[in-house]
């Protein structure tokens, strides 16, 4: 009797021992997030936190990996079949969370829905229909997209839009996504529930077509206050957090219970100077009398760039967590120029250039910046003001909350330039290549063509415009990369249209035993948290 019992118990234990590895992925990951999405509807708002959540639940035709390189997603392959048409071959056998099949109908539906979203706070129209795109279904698994002129950025544009199921119907908007009824996607995770401000729960999608996710359940908690977020990690209430403040990094590196992961992002922090008006706002001679706009002279702009000690800013203000910049994107990105290097710190050379340009005594100006938008933005503005004052440009720093700043720094074209003439801003290239910053920051303002919308300095160089236009119509990757590099060299190398300072480095922290694969698009994904 006793022997039989032991045998039974032994057999049971043996069975459990065998079954345990099969259900080893029954693990939950709890993430503490710095910012919350505003909706689960992937077409409602083109915002980082929203796109980040959407990537868990929905799929895209073209995916971006951790270095923003394009990878096959719901489209297995794509190629231009002629100058103005791209063909996308869709993946077969993919199922939505509700079991329905994924096919070309869903893509056509998505491309109709996204730009027409009535409540969209920042729609995807630029990506779904920019360049005059037209979609045609060839068969259930083939789509043709045509544009009036050659459009090399087709796969990049389509890598921003998440595909929803056409079963949800024409009149389903963000409400039904937020409560879960319409949040049907093809992504690695399914939405379980979302309570704003409290928690977002997701379960793994057993039928996901790609690599099986490591976590069977993901719980995301929004913890906006950075110290509280860190405390939650240290207390063990969450397993992983994002947006670790730079001041804590040095201490955390020595903390055995925490593993840090860092990676450069696609965001460059730079200065924009007014190059259009005859008298620059807030800029006068040292005695207060009016002077003509000094920033219009390229020597003055270069002098300012030389006067900034980027290494010192990175070391002291950013606590080592940044990489100095000489152009729009860090190393490893498409379309970068080999010739542009970050401007070396040279205060003597700066003073000389200023004297050459006719300002031996310098002048007075104000540098404006936000104080709650970029990492350490207010401190960077203060540091730069001090550095410029040393070479004779008496600079007053003026920082304010982003809700007030961006309205006053807004560019509405030459007739309505921004209130500020000398500003600190940042730009994250969501497409992973320089055409987006070149178009928005440095191209001559043109409302019809959609150029120069963030060109706060109203920089204008017809030569660069021409090179950029050529690049945007060149489908061959190598030729386009060379043209983009050339445009950057003209705009920044020759013109100093903007003064790049540094690229941000993002830090994530996980409990010991986990680590994160850093992403240049700054996204925090459960799929990127791995054991190690």
């Amino acid at each position: 009797m006793y022997f039989k019992k032991t045998l039974a118990v032994g057999a049971l234990a043996a069975m459990t021992a065998i079954t345990v590895p099969l259900s080893a992925s029954a693990e939950t990951l709890t993430i503490g997030l710095g910012s919350e999405p505003t909706s689960i509807d992937p077409h409602y708002h083109n915002l980082g936190p929203n796109n980040q959540i959407a990537q868990h639940i929905f799929g895209r035709l073209v995916e971006q990996d951790d270095k923003q390189r394009l990878q096959p997603g719901l489209a297995e392959s794509w190629k231009p079949i002629n100058d103005t048409t791209w063909e996308f071959k869709l993946r077969k056998g993919v199922k939505f969370h509700d079991g329905s099949d994924f096919n070309a109908d869903d893509v056509i539906f998505t491309m109709k829905r996204a730009p027409a979203h009535p409540n969209a706070r920042s729609s995807f129209k630029l990506y779904t229909h920019g360049g005059g795109k037209e979609y045609k279904k060839i068969d259930d698994y083939t789509i043709h997209v045509s544009t009036p002129r050659p459009y090399p950025l087709m796969p990049t544009d389509l890598s921003t839009v998440h595909i929803v199921s056409n079963e949800i119907g024409d009149a389903t908007w963000e409400g039904e996504f937020n409560n879960g009824t319409a949040a049907i996607g093809t992504g690695p995770y399914k939405l379980v529930k979302w309570t704003k401000g409290e928690v977002l729960e997701m379960d793994v999608n057993e039928n996901y077509y790609g690599e099986k996710p490591a976590w069977s359940k993901v719980i995301m908690k929004p913890i906006a206050s950075a110290p509280s977020r860190l405390a939650a990690l240290l207390a063990g209430d969450v397993d992983f957090i994002d947006n670790v403040p730079t001041t804590d990094i040095a201490r955390l590196k020595k903390e055995p219970a925490v593993a840090l992961s860092q990676g450069v992002s696609n965001r460059v922090i730079y200065l924009h100077l007014d190059q259009y008006r005859d008298v620059a706002p807030y800029t006068t001679a040292k005695d207060g009398s009016e002077i003509k706009n000094p920033f219009k002279d390229v020597r003055v702009r270069r002098a300012i760039s030389k006067a900034i000690n980027r290494d010192l800013i990175i070391d002291r203000v950013m606590e080592g967590v940044a990489i100095k910049a000489g152009q729009l994107l860090p190393e490893g990105f498409f379309g970068r120029s080999d010739k542009l290097k970050p401007e070396a710190y040279d205060p003597e050379g700066a003073k000389k250039l200023l004297a050459e340009a006719g300002y031996p005594d310098g002048f007075k100006t104000t540098l404006f910046g936000p104080n709650d938008r970029y990492i350490n933005d207010a401190k960077i503005v203060e540091a730069i003001s001090q550095m410029l004052s040393r070479i004779g440009i008496a600079t007053t720093p003026d920082t304010m909350p982003k809700s007030v700043y961006f309205k006053r720094a807004k560019n509405r074209g030459p007739e309505n330039p921004p209130e500020f003439g000398f500003v600190l801003v940042g730009w994250g290239s969501g497409t992973g290549e320089p055409s987006s910053p070149l178009k928005s920051l440095l191209a001559t303002y043109n409302k019809e063509k959609g150029l120069g919308s963030s060109n706060r300095g109203l920089h204008s160089n017809p030569e660069m415009d021409k090179v950029l236009e050529d690049a945007l119509a060149t489908v061959d990757d190598e030729k386009r990369a060379a043209l983009l590099a050339k445009a950057t060299e003209i705009a920044i190398g020759e013109d100093v249209g903007i003064i790049p300072l540094h690229y941000q480095v993002n830090t994530w922290a996980a409990k010991k035993g986990l680590k994160y694969i850093p992403r240049t698009d700054e996204r925090t994904l459960a799929m990127g948290v791995v054991k190690g």
């Binding site: 503490g32 706070r121 809700s403 309205k407 969501g430 919308s453």
Partner: protein, 325 residues
């Protein structure tokens, strides 16, 4: 009493209206909500479309007119950020804040009154002096710092309590409350204590002052002379007479607890209204700001009304009088 209440409610309707006007106009003068929302890469056409869809292309007085018209139907506008009705979003987060405020108020009463009575009855003892110095710290130390310290000590170092968030909720009369579960209580404890610090100090000092004054009164001497036990003298006769200032102040403070729990909610990631309002201010979500402030005005009015009525019950010398307008 009924006339009093009705007249009070009518007065508050006027206050609400004036408030809505002031808030609406001032919030429209600051910042550009479209800039906050629209992606950097959006072109001018996109920006114009968003401006139109949020109704911001109309002049502000037309926007205000539309707002008032809709307000009578109960629609206070759709949040700029979330797209859903502002009133619904705020009301969904109300139970969390109310729960926190109520528990906090209870804590300050339970801790404050006994300590205040003790300090008042035995002012020369060392323990009383410690209590009074502690009360000074209670309203001088910033809530933000105290909250973080509490998280550091109790959650990170000792691991006794969770560091953030709200615990499991249970439905009570259709509202989700967390004080009915052990997990909920453990999450509620630190934030409520953090929020209660200021009020506890206030209650201690008020109670002590009340006790110091009342203990020398004739009726206390008479009660003792009659032979009543010390407990009865303190618990019944003394307490009733010191309650009035305490109730008044606590009533006023309760409104403040609800409206200004922002700091505690942010530090503890408590999903309440306070955190919602600070986020909305930063992202210029005007409908939520306006709706929130109107709700708070309403809450304050109700609380003041309740305090006035309680006052008249506690102190028979007080007759409810209307302010001659």
């Amino acid at each position: 009493m009924t006339v009093f209440i009705i007249r009070r409610l009518l007065q508050s309707a006027v206050v609400l209206f004036v408030m809505s006007f002031l808030v609406f106009t001032s919030v429209n003068l600051v910042g550009d909500p479209v800039e906050m929302m629209v992606s950097d890469e959006a072109d001018q056409e996109e920006r114009d479309r968003v401006i139109k869809s949020m109704g911001l292309d109309k002049p502000w007085y037309i926007q205000y007119g539309l707002f008032v018209g809709n307000a009578f139907k109960g629609d206070l506008g759709n949040s700029f950020v979330y797209g859903e009705p502002a009133l619904q979003i705020i009301v969904a987060r109300m139970p969390a804040t109310f729960e926190l405020a109520l528990v906090s108020l209870l804590m300050s009463i339970i801790i404050g009154i006994p300590l205040g009575v003790w300090a008042g009855l035995f002012p020369e003892k060392l323990s009383s002096k410690i209590v009074m110095s502690g009360s000074i710290l209670g309203f001088s130390l910033p809530t933000f710092w105290v909250g973080l310290m509490m998280i550091m000590v109790f959650a990170v170092m000792l691991g006794w309590l969770p560091s953030t968030g709200r615990g499991d909720t249970v439905e009570l009369l259709g509202i989700n409350v967390s004080f009915l579960s052990a997990d909920g209580l453990s999450h509620l404890f630190l934030p409520a204590l953090n929020l209660a610090l200021f009020n506890t100090s206030l209650v201690i000092r008020l109670t002590r002052a009340g006790v110091r004054e009342a203990v020398h009164q004739d009726y206390i001497k008479f009660a003792r002379a009659k032979g009543l036990s010390n407990t009865r003298v303190i618990m019944v006769h003394l307490m009733k007479n010191i309650m009035i200032p305490v109730v008044t102040v606590l009533g006023l403070e309760f409104g403040g607890l609800i409206a200004f729990s922002v700091v505690t909610e942010t530090v503890f990631a408590w999903p309440g209204m306070g955190k919602l309002i600070i986020d909305s201010i930063q992202s210029l979500d005007r409908p939520i700001i306006v709706a929130y402030l109107m709700i708070i005005v309403f809450v304050f009015v109700i609380i003041n009304l309740v305090v006035d009525v309680l006052y008249s019950i506690l102190d028979p010398r007080v007759r409810l009088q209307d302010v001659k307008s």
